[in-house]
């Protein structure tokens, strides 16, 4: 491929090293802006049922998260739409401070919503002027019946990952010392669900099915629609297992360090090997190795046809896994691993340095596990995440695909590089995880082969990349 179009080509390890040295910073500050710390902290805590948020900030931050994470998702998630309230900070609050108003707002939230848990979120305004949300939370707790937590989540205060991590850290304050352990019971950690449109419920369902199939129980999915009671009891579980390694890792490490609860460190269960690792990561510490092995053998046996389909699709091919838009970098690396497992040479396309920087601990873990795929980053995507780069990136991807005589593409329908293409975004294609995931992925790759000769529609091409 023309070097003019390539911003980076090498291994994941080499890209990580460049990012650590600060070498891969895009020029314009526009590209790849994920949510800020406030948004992601809210995403996590919003997954606790009946949690009443009191956002100590202006209306914009509040409506935005309510709109993004509640209004658009509660019907899909089957959860009621509940309030998202704030102190509606104005100029006077910024000048004179808003601690008194915040305290009143917490009391009012209790009167209105009768929650078991109130969480105060700080925003840029309250963070900069130094309103002490933690002290207010302590004081409020003595004046209301609900438990009151505070999180310093001002948007400038860290990257989007820090919001998740700090939110998980904060919920540890709710975890009570257990009188006895809940036998063969685990917590699923790292979720951000509730009504939030982030995770796929079907993947979570598959994880739950798998855990129950080996004879284990689940205390709660933290914070994927869990109750306050499940968080309180979390220390009674024997083990933590991650729904998503990336997001669960911090809470898993912290709970292990502080409460001595072991954490099953495994990647996302895409494909046979990763699924087996995930299951055994749970089964072995719980003493359920034998039923787990039986379950793995049974499910694998039943999927012989699907496994054959997937192997035929990948064997000897170059699997281009693109993650610019979807399915997200950690999933893409898991997909790359799965492609490798079934005989393909995986190439991860367009994993942005920004993404590497924000997911450093997880990327390092995956590298330690031996996952070090080839990575290509095109200039189009690297430079600016806009229409122009979208068009440019499509052209660049088509060029990359054309260089291989045996490429297949796994990613988003926003691209069509002219090779067999697996659309990972179809609703009925979920779950991707576990054995049900293998069944679905087999169907998706089959469809990919059957429809490989179809060209991009004129409508889609023009809408996506411009022109008339």
């Amino acid at each position: 491929m023309d070097d003019e179009s390539i911003a980076f080509k090498g291994t994941l390890q080499q890209l990580l090293e460049k990012v650590e040295k600060g070498e891969m910073i895009p020029k314009l500050q526009a590209s790849h802006a994920p949510p800020c710390k406030f948004w992601t902290a809210f995403q996590v805590l919003n997954g606790i049922r009946h949690m009443a948020p009191v956002i100590h900030g202006p209306k914009g931050c509040t409506y935005s998260v309510a709109n993004a994470y509640k209004m658009n998702s509660c019907e899909y998630r089957g959860v009621p739409m509940e309030p998202t309230s704030c102190t509606a900070q104005d100029e006077a609050d910024v000048v004179y401070g808003g601690e008194g108003k915040l305290l009143e707002a917490v009391k009012e939230a209790e009167q209105r919503y009768h929650p078991e848990l109130i969480v105060i979120f700080s925003c840029c305004c309250s963070g900069i002027i130094g309103d002490d949300v933690e002290t207010i939370a302590q004081r409020a707790e003595s004046e209301v019946d609900a438990k009151v937590l505070a999180i310093r989540s001002e948007g400038f205060g860290g990257d989007f990952r820090s919001g998740y991590e700090d939110a998980f850290r904060v919920i540890m304050e709710l975890m009570e010392k257990p009188s006895e352990k809940m036998k063969k019971t685990i917590n699923i950690i790292g979720a951000r669900q509730g009504p939030t449109y982030t995770e796929w419920t079907q993947d979570l369902d598959e994880i739950e099915r798998t855990v129950h199939a080996i004879g284990a129980k689940i205390n709660g999915v933290l914070c994927g629609g869990c109750t306050l009671e499940q968080i309180r009891q979390a220390r009674a579980a024997e083990l933590n297992a991650s729904w998503c390694y990336d997001w669960g890792q911090k809470l898993g490490d912290l709970m292990e360090e502080r409460f001595g609860i072991p954490y099953a460190r495994t990647g996302l269960p895409y494909g046979l090997k990763a699924t087996e690792e995930w299951i055994m990561g749970v089964a072995i510490p719980l003493g359920l190795e034998e039923p787990a092995r039986q379950m793995i053998q049974k499910e694998t046996r039943e999927l012989a046809k699907e496994i054959d389909t997937i192997r035929q699709f990948f064997d000897g091919k170059t699997a281009l896994v693109e993650i610019a838009e979807f399915p997200g970098p950690i999933r893409a690396l898991a997909l790359a691993r799965m492609a490798g497992e079934f005989g393909a040479h995986p190439v991860v396309v367009n994993i942005h340095p920004y993404t590497i920087k924000e997911r450093m601990p997880s990327i390092k873990y995956l590298l330690q596990q031996g996952q070090n795929p080839e990575v290509i980053l095109t200039k189009g995507l690297f430079s600016l995440g806009t229409f122009r780069s979208s068009w440019q990136t499509e052209v660049e991807l088509e060029t990359i695909a054309a260089q291989y005589d045996n490429a297949v593409y796994l990613g988003t329908p926003l691209r069509q590089p002219g090779v067999p293409q697996v659309n990972l975004t179809t609703m009925t294609g979920y779950p991707h995880f576990g054995y049900s995931g293998i069944k679905n992925i087999a169907r998706l790759v089959q469809s990919s082969v059957e429809n490989a000769g179809r060209s991009r529609s004129r409508l889609f091409r023009r809408v996506l990349y411009g022109g008339n």
């Binding site: 020029k27 314009l28 500050q29 526009a30 802006a33 994920p34 949510p35 800020c36 710390k37 406030f38 948004w39 009191v54 900030g57 202006p58 209306k59 914009g60 931050c61 509040t62 409506y63 935005s64 309510a66 709109n67 209004m71 658009n72 509660c74 019907e75 009621p80 739409m81 309030p83 998202t84 309230s85 704030c86 102190t87 509606a88 900070q89 104005d90 100029e91 609050d93 910024v94 108003k101 009143e104 707002a105 917490v106 009012e108 939230a109 209105r112 925003c123 840029c124 305004c125 900069i128 002027i129 001002e154 948007g155 400038f156 205060g157 860290g158 989007f160 806009t386 229409f387 411009g466």
Partner: protein, 447 residues
């Protein structure tokens, strides 16, 4: 039917569940209405998402408009972000845009970043126009943000000395409208003006070119297309350029009476009474005939106790329509804003219609829900939020007219004018029919 009225204040802003976003969002909406522009949010990355949402509201074509953010972090909050802003403006040169709007968010404004000074300093080094807009979220809600942005644009971009163009107007704040496809309302207004021979010199803002700003001072009149913002811009134009505000203090054209009055006023102003009368006559005839052909459900509308929970732009004019034309009985009106002009206008409307619903201004979601639980209307004109809010209240019908609506609209549909009436009636009918779809099945199908 007159009832005991009660004018309530909105929720005290302590624990507030807002319907509106902040000033930064309103300013971004306004800036993104300028064709081919680049909007640079001097903000942390979360605010960038807000600007991104504004992009959608202006129906901006993503192939034509650029948005950037300085992605401020702790360093810039501690040491200031002016240098980063200057660098980003310089880097934006490669985008080749004609104009850059620099919007400041809460963080940089509190720490004292002077975006106006940065823009002035750097102006000579770039080839595009730069308009700084100080619109931190704490300055107010999105309607106030629209006013702030219009103010900055008018001061910076309007050419002061221009000859008047007879029979011309500029249109203000079309986007400050709860109709999720308000572009349809704007199109209707333009079409009516065109039939009356009135030239629209500038739309502030939607698909607005830089040349339009230059022409603003030439306008003979202006029309504010919102009851939630834009009045300040109209006042500025009146004081600065003697531009007369037309259809002032008059509900926007929703329903027979409002539309007829609005058209008549325009007709008088521009000497096109005959055209106004023709549009009204033909429009009314069309609505009636269409309702005869397609059906107009009266059974559930006649004397149905109703609530309107909306922005003032849709909510105030809707009152006349549902009372007079649809024979409902308004019992509750919750408005998301409270501009003095809109409040007076509403009071006149209530008097004229001889009704006394409970009225609340500047409401938040909680206040609306509380009011609904107390008033218990049978139908609610509102948004997807009310659809959820009434679930436990036993209120059967919510007609989703205003943002946010969980329905995709590919076609811009106006509420203004005569087709607008049919669009509202269509929303009512569809939501009414949906309500009658049982979520349970008494027995399983066999096919």
């Amino acid at each position: 039917m007159a009832e005991t009225g009660e004018l309530m204040m909105g929720t005290a802003e302590r624990c507030h569940d807002p319907y509106l976003r902040c000033a930064l969002y309103g300013a971004a909406q306004t800036a993104l209405g300028v064709t081919g522009c680049c909007v640079l949010a001097h903000s942390p990355q979360g605010c960038y998402l807000l600007v991104n949402a504004a992009f959608g509201w202006q129906d901006a074509d993503y192939t034509e408009t650029q948005i950037l953010s300085t992605k401020l972090c702790e360093d810039e909050i501690v040491h200031g972000g002016e240098e980063l802003l200057a660098r980003t403006i310089l880097e934006a040169q490669e985008l080749g845009v004609p104009i850059l709007f620099v919007l400041s968010s809460c963080g940089p404004e509190i720490v004292g970043d002077d975006i106006v000074a940065v823009c002035e300093d750097i102006r000579s080094q770039v080839e595009f126009e730069i308009v700084p807009i100080e619109c931190a979220g704490f300055r107010g809600d999105q309607n106030e943000g629209t006013d702030i942005a219009l103010d900055a644009m008018l001061i910076k971009l309007v050419v002061q000395e221009r000859e008047k163009v007879p029979g011309s107007v500029c249109l203000i704040a079309p986007h400050a409208n709860g109709n999720p496809t308000w572009i349809g309302d704007l199109a209707w207004v333009k079409s009516v003006l065109s039939q009356m021979g009135v030239k629209v010199l500038a739309t502030l803002t939607h698909n607005t070119t830089l040349n339009e700003f230059k022409n603003v001072a030439s306008a003979e009149g202006c029309i504010v297309l919102s009851h939630d913002s834009g009045q300040k811009a109209a006042d500025y134009l009146a004081n600065q350029f003697e531009i007369e505000q037309i259809c002032k203090d008059m509900p926007l054209p929703v329903g027979f009476t409002n539309t007829h009055r609005w058209l008549t006023e325009l007709g008088k102003k521009f000497g096109a009474q005959d055209v106004a009368e023709r549009i009204a006559t033909e429009g009314e005839k069309m609505v009636v005939e269409q309702c005869r052909r397609k059906g107009l459900e009266q059974f559930f509308m006649h004397r149905a106790p109703a609530a309107i929970i909306a922005d003032a732009t849709v909510g105030v004019p809707l009152l006349h329509f549902i009372t007079e034309d649809l024979e409902m009985v308004p019992r509750l009106l919750c408005l998301r804003s409270c501009l003095p002009g809109a409040k007076k206008m509403l009071e006149r409307e209530l008097k004229e219609l001889n009704i006394s619903p409970r009225v609340a201004y500047n409401v938040d979601v909680y206040k609306s829900k509380l009011s609904l639980s107390e008033v218990r209307p049978e139908v609610v004109f509102g948004s997807n939020i009310e659809r959820h809010a009434v679930e436990e209240l036993g209120i059967p019908f919510v007609f989703r007219l205003v943002n946010p609506i969980s329905r995709f609209r590919s076609i811009n549909r106006e509420y203004f004018g005569y087709v607008g009436m049919l669009n509202i009636i269509e929303c009512i009918h569809n939501d009414w029919l949906d309500r009658y779809r049982s979520k349970e099945r008494r027995y399983k199908a066999r096919w």
